[in-house]
C-alpha cells in the first residue's frame, strides 16, 4: 500500500434501505473506495446516540449512518429518531471542536445502489481531505479520543437521553423534520446536559 493516508470510516446501515443499496451496488459491480466498515442495524432508529461518538473515540476518522429516505422508513419514523441522535452527535462534535464533516447521516433506498456508491465515494474523499482525526481540528488525537469517549458516556447518561426524548417529542409535535430545526431542538433540550463538554481540555 502506498503511504497516502487512508481514512477509517465506520458505517451503521439500516437493513432495509442502505444495507440493501450497498448489496445492490455489489451486484452491479459499482466500485467505491475500500474504507468503509459496516455494522448492520435493522433501522437507523436503533442508532444509540452514543454509537457515533463511541466509534470516533475508538479509532474511526469518520462515521456514516445510512437509512431510508425521510418518509420512507421501513418501520415508520425510525430515521427521524436517527436525525435526533445525529443532531446530538453533531452538537457534541461542535463542542469538542471536531469537524462536523466527520459525521454524516444520509439516505439511499434499496433501489439506489449507485446513489450509495456516490455518497460513500464523496464521503471518503471528504474525510481523506480532513486527514486523521485531530489533524483538521489541530488537536492531539489521543486526547481528542478520550474526550470523545467522555461524550459517548454522556450520551448514555440519563440527563442527555431525557433531553433527547423531549427533542423527539417536540419534533413530532411540530412536524418540522428539517436538520436546522432538529439541531435547534437539541440545543434547547440538551445544552445543559452537555455543559461539561464545553469546558476546555486541561
Amino acid at each position: 500500500m502506498s503511504e497516502t493516508y487512508s481514512p477509517k470510516i465506520l458505517g451503521f446501515l439500516c437493513n432495509w434501505c442502505c444495507y440493501t443499496a450497498a448489496d445492490s451496488a455489489g451486484v452491479g459491480r459499482y466500485q467505491y473506495p475500500p474504507n468503509l466498515r459496516v455494522i448492520r442495524i435493522m433501522c437507523t432508529g436503533r442508532l444509540d446516540p452514543s454509537f457515533p461518538l463511541e466509534g470516533l473515540a475508538t479509532g474511526a476518522d469518520a462515521i456514516f449512518v445510512g437509512g431510508c429516505h425521510p418518509g420512507e422508513c421501513h418501520y415508520q419514523d425510525g430515521n427521524y429518531h436517527a436525525l435526533v441522535s445525529a443532531a446530538l452527535a453533531h452538537e457534541a462534535l461542535a463542542r469538542l471542536g471536531v469537524s462536523r464533516e466527520r459525521f454524516l447521516i444520509d439516505w439511499a433506498s434499496a433501489a439506489e445502489g449507485p446513489n450509495f456508491v456516490k455518497i460513500i465515494t464523496r464521503f471518503t474523499e471528504q474525510t481523506a481531505a480532513l486527514g486523521p482525526l485531530g489533524q483538521s481540528e489541530g488537536q492531539d488525537s489521543v486526547k481528542l479520543r478520550t474526550r470523545l469517549a467522555q461524550a459517548a458516556e454522556l450520551a448514555r447518561g440519563r440527563k442527555v437521553r431525557l433531553g433527547l426524548i423531549n427533542a423527539s417529542r417536540e419534533m413530532f409535535k411540530g412536524g418540522d423534520f428539517s436538520r436546522p430545526a432538529i439541531a435547534a431542538l437539541i440545543q434547547a433540550k440538551c445544552a445543559k446536559a452537555l455543559a461539561e463538554l464545553t469546558s476546555q481540555p486541561e
Binding site: T20, D23, C43, S168
Partner: protein
C-alpha cells in the same frame, strides 16, 4: 373422487426445483423426477445471470440444498416419466429409474471413485471441454451430493474388468448389481419442467463450430468464464490457449431461422450475450468486443438499462446484421467474418474468438414426454398452451412451466413455477397436508453456561470472493481471534456438501456460535441458520460477515484492501457473535384470508387462484366494474377476443363463494405484518365509507395505463391514433374504410426514451398483430412500420414473419433520427423518415398514423409508502429478488403481479398473478408465522416507567403496567417488529434488541477500533 395430495414435477432445473419447494410449502408431497444424476439444470452450469450479473450457482445452490433436505420432496435422479394414467387428482404415473451404481444414501461424496476410475470420459457439465471419470459427480454443489457411474463408459459394466472403484470406496457404496427400476406412483397433478434442448450440431457447424477450434457455443464460453470451469475461469482460445483480443458474438444461431425450422425467437440470447460480453471484458479489460444483432431484444424489466450501461461502459461495438459467415482461412489462427450491413454494404474482419449465441429448442425428447404425459405440442415441439391459461397443458391436471412452455429466462421460469404450484394447490385443495410429514428437528443444545466456542467459515464463492480477497489468509486470521476454536475456508459455503461440513464441524468442535463470511445475510442467512438448527443450535447464535456484495464485488481492483476489509468484517462479526444468546421463537397465527388490490386481469387471476385453494379473498377495485385495461384490447395474436376471456373471469369472480368484490374502493391505511394485516378501505363514490379488512397476506395488482404521448401530431389530427385507439376502430362496423390506403406505425413513442426510460415489451407485438389484422381485412393496404428493434420475442416472431409476408414494410430508425410528423391543413399527416436500405429520406402521407405508446404504471407511490415497499425509478414495484423471488415484495406477506411489476403481455400477467397467488397462500397454508426473534426486551429492574418507549413505538408494541406502586414497560412481542427506536431512546438503557443488543454493537464498534491498533 379420490384426490391425492402429491404432485410429480418432471425436470429438476430451476423451474422444477422452485415448483417443488413452493408445493411443499403449500402442503403437498412432491416427486421431483430428474433425467440426469443431479438437480440444478442449466442454471447450475451458468457462471452469472443477467441483468444483475449475480453469480448463478450462488443464488441457485440454497434452493437445491433446501430441496435436498425437504422431507416432503423425493428426488428421483436418472429417472423419466414414461406413462401417466388416470385423471386429474388421481393419476398413476409410471417412472423408469436408471441405476446410479453408487448408493446415494451411503456415498460420502469423497471422490475416491473418480480418482481411481480408469475410464476417462468427456465432462458433460463442462460442455465437454474437460475430462472426468466414468465414476463422477456432475459438479461440486450437486444435489444429491452423491457420485454415479456412467454405464456407457464403465469398464466393469461393459467388460467385467477394472472394478477399482469398489475397492477404493471406503464407504462401500458401489453397487454394480443395481438394476433399472419401474416405479408406480400415485399423484394428483403433474408439472412438466423438462427445460430446453440444444440447437443441433449441423446448424452450428454452419457457423464454423466443430470445424474451427476457436468458434465456441455460448454454453462453452460460459464454462470458460466460470471459476469452477475447465480453465479455472480463464477465457482462452481453444486453439492456442491464449487470451483472445477480439471476440465476436453472433446472435440468432438456431433462432429466427426458417432454414433450421426454428422461426421463433429464443428470447434470452440478446441479454445473455450482453452478460457474456461484459464478463469477457471484466476478465480482460483490453479485449475488444463486437456483437452482431439482427434486433436487440432486451425487453425484460431493467434489461434495456443494463444493456445500455454495459455497452456504454465497455465500449462494445454493436453491428446490425444477420449472423456473419465464419471462415478459418488464416495460417496463424484467427477467424474471418464476412457480413453485410443493413444498407447492403459488405464487410470483412478478423477475430480471435467467435461465440455463437445459440437459441433454445424444445427438449430432444419432447415428443416422448408429450406422449407419456398425454399432452399436445405446438408446431415447434413446445407444449401447447392457451393465452388465458398459460400454464395448463391440453390435459387437465398436467401443467407446464419453464422453457418447455416457450423459450424464456430464469425469472419468467420461476414465476411459472410459482403459478403452477398455486394451480396444483387449488386443484388438490381437499388433499392439502394429507401426504406430507412434519420436519422433526433435534432438541436445541443448551449453550447458556458455555464459554463462546466460535466456528468461522470463510467462503471463496468460486472466484466471486476468492478472486479478489485472499480467503485462506482471512480464515487463518480468523483462527487467531478470541473465542474462535475452528476456522476454515470453503469453495462454496452454500453447497449441500458444505452444509454437511458445517454440521460436522459444529459437532466435532462443539461449536456454540457460527460465523459465515460470505455473500450477504439478506439472502443466505436463512440457509445457514437452518443448517445450524439441524445441528441442534439455536438460530440466533449465527452471524454473517458480508465479504462479497460489500467487499470483493465493490473493490475488484484492490485485492490488498479488500482482504483487509474482509478481515475487519470477520473480526467484527466474531466480536458480535460473542454476545449472541439463544432466543426463543414464537409462533403467531395467520388470518386465513388475502387482500388483492386491483381487479384487472392480474388481480382477478390472483384472486381466483387464492380462492380456489379455499382461502377468503377481498378483491378491491378502484373502478365500478372489474376488468381493467384488457377491456380495451379487441383481439389477441391468435384472433380471439380478450374481452370475452375477461368476461368469463369476471363471472367466475362474481360467483366464487370465497371472493368478496369491493368496487370503487381505495386503500387509505395499512397496518400490521404478515399473517395479521389490517387495511382500511375508502369505499363508494358520493358518500365514501370506511371498510376495515383483516387479512394475512396481500397481492398488489394495481396495473398500468397507456402512456399519453406528446408530439408526433397526437391530438392535432384525428388521423393520428395510438395502438389502443386503433384496437377500438378495428372492431367497428365497415372498418377499415375504402378511403384508408396507407397506414404508418411508429414504435417506441414514449418508450426507451425521455418519457418512459424502459421498453414497454408489448408494443412491437401489438403493432404486428394490428398490422396483420389490417392486412387481412384489406390486403391492398400499404403499411409501413418505423421501429428501432422489432421485439417480437418468443413465438411472436411468427407474427413478424407473417406481417412481412403480407407485405408490411419495416424501416429501422435510429433514436437520434426518429421519423418526423407534420400535421397540415385539414389534419393531413406527413411523415418524413430515413430508409436505411435506400439510404435516403422517404415521405409518407398516410390516412392513418398509429403510435405505439407504451405502458406507464399506475402511480404506486402512496400505496408503497403505506406498505413500506420500494419502487423503482420508473415507478414499478421492486421485487425482493429479481431472479429468484420475482413476485415477492421485500415486506413479508406482500406480493406483486401484472403491470405494477413491469410491462408485460396478458399471458405473462396471468402466469405472474397465479405465481403471486401461489406464494401468497404459503403463509395461509402453514397457518402460522415465526417472526425473527429480533424483538425488544425490557429489563424491569432498570426501567423507570417513563413511558417514552411506549409513546415512540410505531406499532403500539410496548405497554405500561403497574408493578406494585411502580410503573414499568413491557414488550408485546407479537406486535414488535424490532426497529429498536425504544432502545435508542430509553433513558436508562433498560431496553435491548434481540440479535442487535447494545453490548453486541458496542463490541462491533470496539472491534472496528482494533483495526487501528494492529
Amino acid at each position: 373422487m379420490n384426490i391425492t395430495g402429491v404432485v410429480m414435477v418432471v425436470g429438476g432445473g430451476v423451474a422444477g426445483v422452485q415448483a417443488a419447494l413452493d408445493l411443499t410449502a403449500l402442503g403437498y408431497k412432491v416427486y421431483l423426477v430428474e433425467k440426469s444424476a443431479a438437480i440444478g439444470g442449466v442454471m447450475a452450469r451458468l457462471d452469472k445471470t443477467f441483468p444483475t450479473n449475480d453469480c448463478s450457482l450462488c443464488i441457485l445452490a440454497p434452493k437445491l440444498v433446501e430441496a435436498g433436505r425437504d422431507p416432503n420432496i423425493t428426488i428421483l435422479t436418472k429417472a423419466e416419466l414414461i406413462e401417466l394414467q388416470g385423471r386429474a387428482g388421481d393419476f398413476k404415473a409410471t417412472v423408469r429409474k436408471q441405476p446410479r451404481y453408487i448408493d446415494e444414501e451411503i456415498c460420502t461424496g469423497c471422490g475416491q471413485c473418480t480418482l481411481y476410475c480408469l475410464k476417462q470420459i468427456n465432462d458433460d457439465y463442462n460442455e465437454n471441454l474437460a475430462r472426468t471419470g466414468a465414476a463422477h459427480i456432475d459438479y461440486a454443489q450437486a444435489v444429491p451430493a452423491s457420485y454415479h457411474i456412467d454405464p456407457k463408459a464403465c469398464l466393469r459394466l461393459n467388460f467385467d474388468t477394472c472394478n477399482l472403484c469398489s475397492v477404493a470406496c471406503r464407504a462401500g457404496a458401489i453397487r454394480f448389481d443395481q438394476k433399472e427400476e419401474i416405479l408406480q406412483l400415485a399423484v394428483g397433478a403433474v408439472i412438466l419442467a423438462p427445460g430446453f434442448g440444444r440447437i443441433s450440431r449441423e446448424v452450428m457447424a454452419g457457423y464454423g463450430w466443430g470445424r474451427c477450434a476457436d468458434v465456441l457455443t455460448a454454453f462453452e464460453h460460459e464454462r470458460l468464464m466460470c471459476a469452477s470451469g475447465p480453465t479455472g475461469g480463464e477465457i482462452v482460445r481453444p486453439s492456442d490457449e491464449r487470451h483472445p483480443r477480439k471476440i465476436a458474438f453472433l446472435q440468432c444461431i438456431g433462432s429466427r431461422d426458417e432454414k433450421c425450422g426454428n422461426n421463433y425467437c429464443s428470447s434470452v440470447c440478446c441479454m445473455y450475450a450482453i452478460k457474456q460480453a461484459t464478463l469477457a471484458r471484466e476478465h480482460d479489460p483490453d479485449c475488444e468486443i463486437t456483437l452482431f444483432y439482427m434486433d436487440i431484444r432486451t425487453h425484460g424489466k431493467g434489461f434495456d438499462a443494463a444493456r445500455e450501461r454495459a455497452v456504454g461502459e465497455n465500449n462494445f461495438r454493436v453491428i446490425y446484421a444477420r449472423p456473419p459467415k465464419v471462415e478459418d482461412v488464416f495460417p496463424d489462427g484467427g477467424l474471418l467474418l464476412t457480413w453485410s450491413d443493413e444498407s447492403g454494404g459488405h464487410h470483412y474482419e478478423k477475430f480471435d474468438l467467435v461465440v455463437l449465441s445459440q437459441g433454445l429448442e424444445a427438449p430432444d425428447d419432447a415428443e416422448q414426454l408429450a406422449q407419456a404425459a398425454g399432452i399436445d405440442l405446438n408446431p415447434y415441439q413446445f407444449a401447447a398452451t392457451d393465452t388465458y391459461s398459460p400454464l395448463a397443458t391440453s390435459r387437465p391436471g398436467v401443467y407446464v412451466i419453464g422453457a418447455f412452455q416457450g423459450p424464456k429466462d430464469i425469472p419468467d421460469s420461476v414465476v411459472q413455477a410459482g403459478g403452477a404450484a398455486g394451480l396444483c394447490a387449488g386443484q388438490l385443495a381437499s388433499a392439502r397436508g394429507s401426504a406430507t410429514v412434519k420436519t422433526v428437528l433435534p432438541a436445541e443444545r443448551e449453550v447458556a453456561g458455555e464459554e463462546p466456542r466460535i466456528g468461522v467459515f470463510v467462503c471463496h464463492c468460486g472466484i466471486n470472493i476468492g478472486g479478489v480477497v485472499k480467503v485462506p489468509s482471512v480464515a487463518a486470521y480468523a483462527k487467531t481471534l478470541p473465542g474462535v476454536v475452528y476456522a476454515t475456508d470453503n469453495l462454496y459455503s452454500c453447497s449441500q456438501d458444505s452444509q454437511g461440513v458445517l454440521v460436522e464441524a459444529i459437532r466435532q468442535h462443539r461449536l456454540n456460535r457460527l460465523v459465515v463470511a460470505a455473500c450477504t445475510p439478506r439472502t443466505h442467512e436463512p440457509l445457514f441458520q437452518a443448517t445450524m438448527r439441524e445441528a441442534g443450535l439455536n438460530r440466533s447464535l449465527f452471524e454473517m460477515a458480508n465479504i462479497r456484495d460489500q467487499c470483493s464485488w465493490v473493490h475488484m481492483h484492490e485485492p490488498e484492501e479488500a482482504t483487509e476489509k474482509a478481515k475487519d468484517a470477520v473480526r467484527m462479526a466474531v466480536a458480535k457473535a460473542h454476545h449472541h444468546t439463544a432466543l426463543s421463537e414464537q409462533q403467531l397465527p395467520v388470518i386465513p384470508g388475502a387482500l388483492v388490490i386491483g381487479a384487472g386481469l392480474a388481480g382477478m387471476s390472483a384472486a381466483l387462484t387464492i380462492a380456489d385453494q379455499g382461502f377468503a379473498v377481498t378483491l378491491v377495485e378502484r373502478e365500478k366494474q372489474p376488468g381493467g385495461r384488457v377491456l380495451s384490447l379487441t383481439a389477441d395474436r391468435h384472433g380471439h377476443d380478450p374481452r370475452q376471456a375477461v368476461k368469463e373471469l369476471v363471472a367466475r369472480v362474481r360467483q366464487h363463494p370465497q371472493i368478496k368484490f369491493v368496487a370503487q374502493a381505495t386503500v387509505s391505511a395499512i397496518s400490521g405484518f404478515v399473517g395479521n394485516f389490517t387495511t382500511t378501505l375508502t369505499v363508494g363514490g358520493e358518500e365514501p365509507q370506511s371498510l376495515v379488512v383483516n387479512h394475512g397476506v396481500m397481492v398488489l395488482a394495481t396495473g398500468g395505463k397507456p402512456h399519453r404521448p406528446t408530439g408526433y401530431g397526437y391530438g392535432q389530427s384525428d388521423r393520428v391514433v395510438t395502438q389502443m385507439e386503433l384496437e377500438a376502430r378495428l372492431v367497428r362496423a365497415k372498418w377499415p374504410p375504402k378511403s384508408l390506403k396507407q397506414v404508418v406505425m411508429i414504435q417506441c413513442v414514449g418508450s426507451r426514451g425521455e418519457d418512459l426510460a424502459y421498453c414497454s415489451r408489448v408494443c412491437c407485438g401489438q403493432a404486428l398483430k394490428n398490422s396483420i389484422r389490417l392486412k387481412t381485412a384489406r390486403p391492398e393496404l400499404q403499411i409501413t412500420i418505423f421501429y428501432r428493434d422489432m421485439r417480437a420475442y418468443g413465438f411472436m416472431e411468427d407474427d413478424y414473419r407473417k406481417a412481412r409476408e403480407l407485405g408490411v414494410i419495416f424501416l429501422r430508425y435510429q433514436p437520434e433520427n426518429p421519423p418526423r410528423v407534420d400535421i397540415g391543413s385539414g389534419g393531413k399527416v406527413t411523415v418524413n423518415g430515413f430508409d436505411p436500405l435506400l439510404r435516403e429520406e422517404v415521405r409518407f402521407n398516410p390516412e392513418l398514423l398509429v403510435l405505439s405508446t407504451g405502458i406507464a404504471p399506475e402511480d404506486p407511490t402512496e400505496l408503497a409508502r403505506m406498505l413500506k415497499v420500494p419502487i423503482t425509478a420508473d415507478k414499478f414495484l421492486l421485487e425482493a429478488h429479481v431472479k429468484l423471488q420475482p413476485v415477492d415484495l421485500p415486506v413479508d406477506g406482500t406480493y406483486v403481479c401484472g403491470l405494477a411489476h413491469a410491462p408485460k403481455g396478458m399471458e405473462e400477467s396471468i402466469a405472474q398473478a397465479q405465481a403471486a397467488a401461489g406464494r401468497a397462500c404459503q403463509p395461509l397454508a402453514r397457518g402460522f408465522i415465526t417472526p425473527a426473534p429480533i424483538v425488544s426486551r425490557i429489563d424491569p429492574e432498570t426501567c423507570i416507567g417513563c413511558g417514552a418507549c411506549e409513546s415512540f413505538c410505531p406499532y403500539k408494541a410496548i405497554e405500561i403496567y403497574q408493578e406494585g406502586k411502580l410503573r414499568k414497560a413491557r414488550t408485546i412481542t407479537a406486535s414488535c417488529k424490532g426497529c429498536g427506536v425504544c432502545a435508542a431512546r430509553c433513558p436508562t438503557l433498560a431496553i435491548d434488541m434481540g440479535r442487535f443488543t447494545f453490548a453486541a454493537i458496542m463490541a462491533q464498534i470496539h472491534s472496528f477500533g482494533e483495526q487501528i491498533n494492529e
